[in-house]
Amino acid sequence: MSGASAVHTLSLSKHYGARVAVHDVSVTVRTGEIFGLLGPNGAGKSSFVKMLVGLIRPTAGQARLLGQPLEDPAVREQLGYLPELFRYPAWLSPYEVLNYHRALLKRPAWSRASSDALLDRVGLLGRGAHRIGSFSKGMQQRLGLAVALVGDPRLLFLDEPTSALDPLGRHQVHALLQTLRGEGVTVFLNSHLLADMETFCDRVALLNQGELLHVGAVSAAMRSEPRFHIGVDALPPAVRTALAPWLVPDSVIPTVTGLRITVAVDRPDLPTVHRTLLEQGVAVYEVEPVTTHLEEWFRSMVASDHPAAPAEAD
């Protein structure tokens, strides 16, 4: 197993009798990267993370965190974890919760100034002395982030960290992730918000029905295709005939300014298409390369009967 990796699993599995939650997952998360785990509901994402943070016991396989076995208590001191569904005691204040977790980590209690510095990072400055019982779901999620960070973890597991946040809160989490990346913290992100994954993750893994379908760079999943959207004012039959070699079938879509068509053409041949349109008297408003976003990739991967792919080599 790799000692330099932040997370390394080998055939990790969790079965509940005949039901498979996670099966034979081998994956490596490199130190300092932001790694995303994707998958449809019930794919086994949360079960996988729960095995790594010690909430559930693997049925089979092995895992190492920060080069140490899962069972090593010293590893737990360097982890931060934001659960997907959680609540903090309503009768406590954020100051008390932060110091409770400091004590669980056997770290000295924080002054209010230290707590405020962390609460500021998650957008809860000024709320430190309030009772958590009065907090909204989004505020609890912000506090959950603060609790995950309270021990200055080297490895951070975030299970749906922005699911209850408003746009401002999501922006703050994005800024926080950028800062953590700069600090060298490894982040394992579990989210169904694919826009978050696109923005921040270096690599993603796709889990479906408990099995690993793919691991790879986000940029590879979002590759540009040799296709372009072109905005035109009209598409007379003669022009349609002239474009036949490149026009993608059923790609003509009405828009506010006219029509949007899609052509399949390599970039060097794009001027030829453009010239053809102009020669036919068609006004061209815009030309935009087609990019496969993570969501489209995700849908196509899950929908296709894709065989389980081995984890990529380190």
Binding site: K50, I56, Y81, F86, R87, K106, G144
Partner: protein, 277 residues
Amino acid sequence: MAVVVRATLVEILRKRLVLVAAVVALLFFVLYEWGISELAHAPGTAGLPPEAVAVSVLYVGMFFSYLMTALFSVFSMAGAIRGEIDDGTLLAVLPRPVPRWQILTGKWIGFGIVGSAYATCLAGGLILLVHVTFGYPGVSLGLVAAWLAFMGLVWIIGAVTLLGSVGLSPLSNGVAVMGLFFVALLGGSLMQILPGRALPQAVTVFGTITRLVFPVDGLYRWALYMVASRAVTQVPPAFLGPFGPWPVPSVAFLIYAALYTAGVLVLASYVLHRRDV
């Protein structure tokens, strides 16, 4: 572990559980004092030894203190583990580098401290009222032993409730532990009807089994005996009804109760250690 004890104490104090329990206890004391004052001057008790009347009213009061203490213990701990897993409170705590047995034991100690304080106030308050009204019981080593045993009830019930709370929902756990409690109470009460040699063998066997399955009732009977060991032997058993202390548990039983509690805690820790969250 100390941090979990502290957090548990804060939880109980801020949940207003203590406030509610204190109000109920106050109501209990007012009604109890009114009742025993009337009994102290009732013509029907004129021919009885004063200490016999005092023991009778003391045992009835102790019985209700016992019930209230059990309810307090069960209700405050029924959701200690599973309830906090289900609502997500424990999910951020369990991954921390604290062994699960320490979290469980910390909760047991925290609840035990508050429960012991509650049991002390209840039993101490009513003993004081009986003493003021009847001049009995006085301060003795037996009283101290009874006090310790009465607090022990909280720790036994607490351990069993915690064990149940690892797997059962708070409601199911509360029903299960209170059911067990009432079975033990039934076994102990049946042995009071015809104490001594006249007690049918089957009742003795049933009572003994229930004492072993849940030694809370045996410990309670021992506390009853210790608080009034001198006077209770002079009271006709039929006069005490189901509230008597017979047969008085032995020292070996007390040791068994302590080992039982430790064993239940170890079992609860093991089950929690193995449990998926």
